[in-house]
Symmetry: C2
Subunit: 394 residues, 2 copies
């Protein structure tokens, strides 16, 4: 009954569901506090109080026909202008409402950008490890993901390998910094080199290659590390942003894309992406949440909470002999499996009620991902279980 | 820079924008109260007060991590169950949470259903006149819309023509009742006959043909007319619903689809549509609005407002010699153009500051659409302008 394209998804989904249900079963048998579930990237820190204050104030005082009504498919102009000014102040950019489209989260933002630019067979480069949904988004428009193998020393993008993968069909490159699943923040040096390679290749090939910066974790950076703003390094940069993590609003589906004036064909691209926003069924980003985030531009969730988790888990895992790059952003640790087949390690960990995601899900086998957006107690209580688990590998 | 598929959209969009800007220019020159804009299907009645009350109460009392958080891609289970029970009470159906997927409005609902079922080249039948976006949604998945010519006597679907258009590639039929752009409500007799044809053709062809019922106007029915619930007449009915009009929440993007147990491959289809909801970028319907509508299941906007507009405009247009079917639902009138080329009539009307949409935009030339979701004053004040306009056709 279902389309050929959807068949493999449905087939695969039962595996995902099985994993999820296994977690639930463990919780049922042993109690939720005895299961250390690091598998989900679901923020557990509440939204800053300003969010609910804005919601209440808007519901009390804004004209409901405006607050809940249609607007331009690109979003409320005042909201887009407010975000643009906030970005300009922070990053020295020169955006206006004309450069922003409000979207149903970053997932929808990436989709409308890809729908706007991809013809069937066009290639999109992604650096392994990468978020598995990129492949699905690209396939939505019959594009092809070209993977660049990881640099497992630093988990910065492997730029030598990258250069060799760029060809005449390369339409876009997706990067994500701070990074899921490694927690790495791309250095300014990395970005300068990446931009130089793209400029050179555009020139050589006579094509336009868009750099799509997927930024749901932009505000989640620790140790005072700077997260460079990519449009300043490469003209053909497009940004997909989400408030899911920065304001803990993942269910609300609110984000935006930026198409800078400097991007090739910026106006046409803006129009195409706005139409894509309409016809893919979103129509526009949820209206109330647009108005809410415009009032919360200087807010973020409590980063100290994540930071404490990060340090405690990182140090705890090191102490039991697990290796990983110290993450500077997002809320993930990407840990080297003590055995080559990381799925074996994931299965063994489950015996100790520890739930992990295999690196294969991010095109990077041999590693496992831990999402530390869990309670501090879960982190602390999991460490003895990790110690027990690691006795299998002494 | 943009994809081949998007090029015609961008080209066509400048015409739409030109029309929109022309309206703004008229308003600037003559004043908003001297321009009679019937071109937009944008609700102008505020949401019932229960909506904002629910928003405030939820923001004050619900755990923010739940209220703004991720849930199953199909939506909050309690919300889906509450809607299912409400439908069961109203229509004698037997739905449960297992049959409902919360969506980013009906537009997204139709998209995930079409993504779940369409292979390239599959056909979807639509009865002219029909909402132009159906064509775009079907094209998103490389399907083909097969148009059935209108029955301009009644604007009920032309069932003789329909039967002849069903073939081995027919995967779905989209219907919309109460209907945009005619305001007609499909009679029970129509639906019984339509169902019988589909049953016969499924048997003959050995295929499954889904009837997709697009229901954004379900609650907007007048004169006590009944709007039959289609799943009761044909097992392979799928429903796409939206709260955009019933609760005046078009900007909030909240709706759902129903996949009844009786539909062929219901479970697989439910799973495919839920995955489509995730990978098309929606991920889930906005979380706060899900909780809001679950508290407003017995509310609708003030229908008397639309009803008064309907009667006044219908009678006023008849008085100046314009012909149309008396609409029993939605907030549209579909009026016969006094000249064969309705675009000529639209242009002439503009001279009298009356803004209409040509029937060609709904695959039904020779007619124009008026959306009467405007202020009552606009209706009353427009009538002398219509009288002047009609002097050109005496």
């Amino acid at each position: 009954m279902i389309s050929k394209k959807m068949k493999p998804f449905v087939a695969n989904n039962s595996a995902v569901r099985a994993m999820f249900e296994e977690g639930n079963k463990l919780r049922e048998i042993y109690g939720a506090d005895k299961v250390y579930d690091f598998s989900l990237g679901n923020p557990n820190v509440p939204a800053p109080k300003e969010v609910n204050e804005a919601i209440i104030d808007l519901a009390q005082h804004e004209d409901p026909v405006v607050l809940h009504g249609y607007m331009n498919n690109a979003g409320f102009e005042d909201v887009r202008e407010a975000i643009a000014q906030s970005l300009n102040k922070r990053f020295g950019t020169s955006f206006g409402a004309r450069n922003l489209i409000m979207t149903v989260g970053a997932a929808s933002g990436l989709n409308i950008l890809l729908k706007a630019i991809l013809d069937p067979g066009d290639e999109v480069i992604a650096f392994a490890p990468y978020f598995v949904e990129y492949g699905n988004y690209v396939a939505n428009y019959d594009g092809v993901v070209v993977e660049v193998e990881p640099d497992t020393e630093t988990f910065q993008p492997n730029l030598e390998a990258f250069e060799s993968k760029i060809g005449p069909k390369t339409k876009a490159v997706i990067v994500n910094t701070p990074h899921n699943p490694t927690g790495v923040v791309y250095s300014e040096e990395t970005i300068r080199r990446l931009a130089a390679i793209l400029e050179k290749k555009q020139e050589e090939l006579g094509t336009v290659i868009y750099l799509i910066s997927d930024e749901p974790y932009r505000e989640l950076a620790y140790d005072g590390v700077e997260v460079p703003y990519l449009t300043k390094y490469y003209d053909n940069t497009l940004v997909g942003y989400s408030y899911s993590k920065s304001l803990s609003l993942p269910g609300e589906r609110i984000g935006y894309v930026v198409i800078p004036d400097e991007a090739d064909g910026a106006e046409e691209l803006f129009e195409a992406a706005t139409i894509a926003n309409r016809i893919n069924g979103s129509v526009n980003a949820p209206s109330l949440q647009q108005k809410v985030i415009a009032r919360c531009l200087d807010c973020t969730v409590d980063l100290d909470f994540y930071d404490r988790n990060r340090k405690t888990l990182y140090e705890g895992l090191q102490a039991v002999g697990l290796e990983c790059i110290k993450p500077q952003g997002a809320f993930y640790l990407f840990v080297k499996s003590p055995v080559p087949d990381e799925k074996e390690f994931v299965a063994k960990a489950k015996e100790y009620h520890i739930l992990l995601v295999p690196g294969s899900s991010f095109a990077c086998p041999g590693y496992v991902r831990l999402a530390y957006c869990v309670s501090y107690e879960t982190i602390v209580n999991s460490l003895p279980a990790f110690a027990e688990l690691m006795k299998n590998y002494e």
